[in-house]
Symmetry: C2
Subunit: 107 residues, 2 copies
């Protein structure tokens, strides 16, 4: 996984922070399918994720409308439901406007 | 680490995504000291972090002024310099306004 190349400001970020339940229950496969499906959505700019105790997934989008459309996607809605029923002990979703960014690279 | 209890909207998030260099070079100790120092800053609301290939640390703040003051903190400036010189292959910092949030908890 790489740092997302999100392009020009302004753009939007969805910070999804979660605590998992025990066991997989199909989570790994669904998580991969959801990243794949999100990346085909109009307005998708990139995604970054990592998990230790806490999981953090940040997806980047060109507009609030693009985020709303992805939230309504039927396969995504099913994953959201399974998330509440099986995969997550707790989560928080934060919708953000990225106002500034700066980058460093050794290359 | 828990999901940050960030309180009422609006508030701000700093998404710091990084790729590390090989070896520790004092990183672990400094990272802990910086979280400790940040948490004593006015306007600090919480922090969430995880690292796999990619490291993601999201800190939450009450205002852009609070973020700017933390960026100028002298110990933090030294850590930023060491980050560019030693610890990070690449990083991206994104300053965001959190416009909406929603939470789920099984408890």
């Amino acid at each position: 996984m790489r740092i997302a190349a999100t392009g020009d400001l302004p753009y939007y970020a969805v910070i999804f922070t979660s605590l998992r339940t025990e066991g997989d229950h199909g989570y790994g496969q669904m998580a991969e399918a959801m990243v794949e499906a999100a990346s085909r959505q109009p307005g998708f700019l990139g995604v970054e994720s990592a998990r230790e105790e806490l999981g953090i997934t940040v997806s980047y989008w060109s507009s609030l409308e693009a985020i709303a459309a992805w939230k309504r996607d039927l396969d995504h809605q099913m994953a959201q439901r399974l998330g509440r029923e099986q995969w997550y002990q707790a989560y928080k979703t934060r919708i953000c406007k990225v106002e500034r960014d700066y980058a460093f690279s050794r290359d």
